[in-house]
């Protein structure tokens, strides 16, 4: 009969956390910035169809780094959660806080109970009527949840990117400024100084979608041409 080796709980959790961290560090970064016009979500992603950024509900968006199959299943679960909630109560009863807490619980459960933890890090963003009412939540692989102010940087070289974004961040930025800042941050760990529009995925949550586009759905994905145009107009 084989004897099981004793592993202390501390060691077990540390091993799992290291494993997850390593997986996430391999990925490219994602930047979420709250600004005057709304919330800009920018990811380094060469694929035009396998998205890292997605729409969850009217005012809520999702961004992730890590393993695609894992965060994609979480994104779909989030859309289902939000749609069921909005259908059974009312559309305004769907909040980023509720969604983030469900994500935190599922990530926490997977971290402790499953064979391997999810190698993902998520951001849940909700745009409000004013920048003060924006909500940005960061969720890590072990189910920890943090309420962030202003911006979130996740992924491979998050420290360097975060420094660059923090240096230029201010609440008065418009979308063009916020996206430029995010792109400048994303190249902080590289030799190049610019990223082509085809190498990034950009989406925004419009603060005034009702008045500007006549829809309550604030999420809008920017095409490559939109990004190039937005970056071309100087301040």
């Amino acid at each position: 009969m084989t004897q099981q080796f004793y592993v202390s709980p501390e060691q077990l959790m540390k091993d799992r956390a290291d494993f997850a961290r390593k997986g996430i560090a391999r990925g490219r970064s994602v930047v979420v910035i709250s600004c005057r016009d709304g919330i800009a979500l920018v990811a380094e992603n060469p694929s035009p169809s396998l998205h890292k950024i997605g729409e969850i509900y009217d005012k809520i968006a999702f961004a992730a780094v890590g393993k695609y199959n894992e965060f994609e299943s979480l994104r779909q679960a989030g859309v289902r959660y939000a749609d069921v909630r909005g259908y059974s109560y009312d559309r305004e009863d769907v909040t980023a806080r509720g969604l983030a807490s469900v994500y935190a619980q599922s990530l926490g459960a997977v971290f402790t109970a499953e064979q391997k933890p999810f190698e993902v890090e998520l951001a849940v963003a909700e745009v409000g009527a004013s920048p003060e009412e924006d909500h940005l939540y960061r969720l890590t692989f072990d189910g920890s949840i943090a309420d962030e102010n202003g911006f979130i940087v996740m992924g491979g070289q998050a420290d360097k990117v975060s420094e660059a974004v923090a240096a230029g961040w201010q609440g008065e930025l418009d979308f063009a400024g916020a996206i430029r800042l995010a792109l400048a941050g994303l190249v902080a760990d590289k030799e190049t100084t610019t990223l082509p529009a085809s190498a990034v995925e950009v989406a925004v949550l419009d603060r005034g979608s009702e008045s500007s586009r006549g829809t309550r759905r604030a999420f809008r994905r920017l095409e490559d041409a939109d990004i190039t145009a937005l970056l071309a107009e100087e301040n």
């Binding site: 169809s49 997605g54 859309v79 749609d83 259908y87 829809t215």
Partner: protein, 276 residues
Amino acid sequence: MQETTANQVAANATSSFTEHLQRQRPDLLPFGRQLPAGTPAAGAAQPLQAPHGTTIVALSYAGGVLMAGDRRATMGNVIASRHIEKVFPADQYSVLGIAGTAGIALDITRLFQVELEHYEKIEGTLLSLDGKANRLGAMIRSNLPMAMQGLAVVPLFAGFDRPAGVGRLFSYDVTGGRYEEQEHHTVGSGSMFARGALKKLWRPNLSEQDAVAVAVEALYDAADDDSATGGPDPIRQLWPVVYIVNRTGAFRVPERELAALAGTIIESRALAQREA
């Protein structure tokens, strides 16, 4: 073993909100429940009393399609509501109008709207117009047991087919049968009269403005002869709900325009001084 896992994953992967509810929260679906035994059936002397929505008209015009509905709901001989709205945007490029049991119809509308948005969010692309029409048919079919007990819902669906570049119209029967209609169509209690009016008023390649006028006049004629259809109400400032769907999307026609149109129709009819 591996094959069964793959099959399970594939079986669980659904982009349909209705399917998700059927598996996880069947109690939230508007249909699919059996009324208790002893509930009066459709043919009974005293059928179950619930508000019913009435007339919807839809027609094609040069740039797309248009749908209009009156503002009345009735319960037996009583007017249950004077300002109910029965035409809704389903998504960016389609609208639906509902006739029949109002409570169930409004819930089916809400479910259909979420269904389309849910698909769009999960898949990252819009459902084809035929796909949307089929999903609505499936929902109406699910309601068949309740339709047999007198709680029928009959929708009318219109949308802009972007790849084909044309507006299209779909009608349904209570069994979920889906029929593509040409030119124009009507549903609800006043549909006979509205249809008669449309036959005389509609012509190919109507302009958008003329098409709205034709729809409002068809509803006026329906209200003239059907007690369950409400006409334009200048006293309460209530006008039909009209949506146009074209290449750029679905838009509601502003009240102001409808008030002017209804005014013109009432005026011309008064001038004509005709009895019938």
